[in-house]
Structures are given as structure tokens and as C-alpha cells.
Amino acid sequence: MEFPNAIQLESPNAISESTPAGKWSQRKIVGTFRHGWDVRHFPFDRQLLRIELEESERVSQKLIYQPDAKNSAHDPKLRPSGWSIRSTRLVTDTHPYPTTFGDPRLPPGSGSSYAHAELQILVERTDYSGFWKLTAGAFAAALMALASYGLRIDNPSVLSPRFGLLAGSTFAAVISLRASASELGASGYTTLIDAVHSSVLLYILLATASGVVAWRRYQRQEDSKAIQWQERRMAGLTSLGFAALILAQILAARSAGAT
């Protein structure tokens, strides 16, 4: 028997006895196993962890596995940190290969198949603090962008600090995005964390656009109060839109992660 997705294995205890029903063998297995994590909906994600077992000697015409479904389970006291175990089950099938591995007893080119089993463990994340850790920088950047509306464009001395604040918040959001992507190990798809960061960047972009428009209106010597009113309206609308977008993204991820 082999464990195709094992990285490291130990087997500290073993028992083997003859019984009227046949030979019963039991063994403790402790190991580290590979898993392709899908963190698209982090922190509302569920993971189906798989421990694969496969017969390595006798082909499936000689030996097959049958699951002992009634006795295969998990310890109810098991509480992995930050996770909850939803279910555990053992499934069996056969794994076909397009080769005979050179076995002279098989017709050449006929392929072969081996008994295969999977211990499937469905786990659900219960600790959401990781979400705040990975998005705190982005939300701080959004607050900096909101604060930039407070720097009145009709005062030329605050023009440079205002755009400096926006540049700084953009930089903070981009750094936070890169750090979170590295922390999650996600690649090839967009996660909720990526979507939140994209929303923050859009919010900063709108704040910058608002500042540019206000500055151009000020250059055309338009009414200062009208410019301020437009700035306040823009701040309110974009902030509301931003909050709604973040909430919608979180709710969508939560509902998708639960399925």
C-alpha cells in the first residue's frame, strides 16, 4: 500500500491478528499530505482534504478495497485550531493507469488498474480573524483616501499633501495586496481578499479623480462653495458605494463558500 499524496509519513504502532473473519491488521499513520487549497472564498472557505491510499502490488483484478463505512469516522473531540470538521468518510474505487508498468502477466499496452481509497475530511474555517489581518492595510488606505477629501483644494498649500496622501494610500493598498496574495498562496484565480483590495484601489482612484476635477474647477475660478459641495457629495457617494461593494463581496463569498 502506498500514499500517493503523502509528503512525509510515520507509522508508530501496528497490530495484526488472525480472527474468524480473516486477518485483521491495524496501524497508526501520522503524516503530512499535499492538498490543493482553494482560498477563493477565504475566510468563508471549506476544504475537502484527501488522504489517498493505493495498492502498489496487486492489480485490481486480483485485489479490490471495500470501505468499512460504519467504522470510518473522526474523533468527535478533534478540534483543529481555527477549523471545524464537518464530515469524514472513506471512499474506494480503482485507479486506472495507461501502462502495465512492464508487468509481463498483462497484455502489453493494455493498461492496468489498482485498488484506490480516499479518506475525505471536509473542514470549514471558523476563525475569521485572518480576513481582518489581510485587509487591515487596505482599509487603512481607504481611510487615508477618505481623509484626503478634508484637504480643501482652494488652499494651494494643501494641494501637494492631498495628492501625496492619495499616492501613499495607493502604495499601501498595493503592498497589502501583494502581502495578502503571498500569505494565502493563491494563484490563478481571484480571491475575496483580491476583490476587496481592488475595491479599495477603485475608491482611491475616484478620490484622486475628484481632487483633479475640483482642482480644474478651482483653476477656472468657479465658486469655492460649489466645489466643496461637489467634493463632499463625491466623498459621500463613493464611500457609500465602497461600503456596499465590500459588503456585497463578503456576502457573495460567504454564500459561495457555504456550498
Binding site: 512525509q8 509519513l9 501496528a14 499513520i29 502490488e57 473522526h74 479518506l119
Partner: protein
Amino acid sequence: MRRPAEVPVAPRMRKASARLLMAALALLISFASPQPARALGSSAEAVQIGAFLTGLGDLDPIHKSFSAAFWLWSLSPENGWVSTGQDGVPECDPAREPQRHL
């Protein structure tokens, strides 16, 4: 002078000798030549296996791994573990992929 009469050989005996000779030849050929490919039997041994998870941790998306501890058992009408080592340990097969074996 009379020639001694020829002892008649019964046709039945002649046939039996020929058969015996053919069988001996066939046996000789079968031992001398390489074993032909044998078709595998269709009756597969069903081994019941089960697992009980006792530990789960190190759920690590960065390294794309997790750690687990569990009891694994088998009930076989013939051999116990599907591929057994001398002490009933699931057998190592370093030729195929040493990292994933016990």
C-alpha cells in the same frame, strides 16, 4: 530355415506410446521455453479497509499541505495488509516513489 515369427505389436499399445512421447515432449518444451503471459484471474480478493481520524493540524495553504494522524485497518480473508512486509507493515516500494511510502 524358419524365421522366428514376428511378435505382433498391438495397435492400442502403439497409440499409447505415441501419446506418452508427445506428452513428454510437450512437458520438456514447456520447461525449456520462457513462461508465456498468463491471463489474470477475474476473482479479485476484497479487502475491507477503514480509517479513524485522531489528529488534524498544520493546515497550511502556503505550503499546500496539512498534517493528519489516523488509524488505518484492513480485514482480509487471506493476507491481512494488502501488501505486507514481514511485520504486517504496509509495504515500502522505493522503486516507485519512496517519499510517499511507509
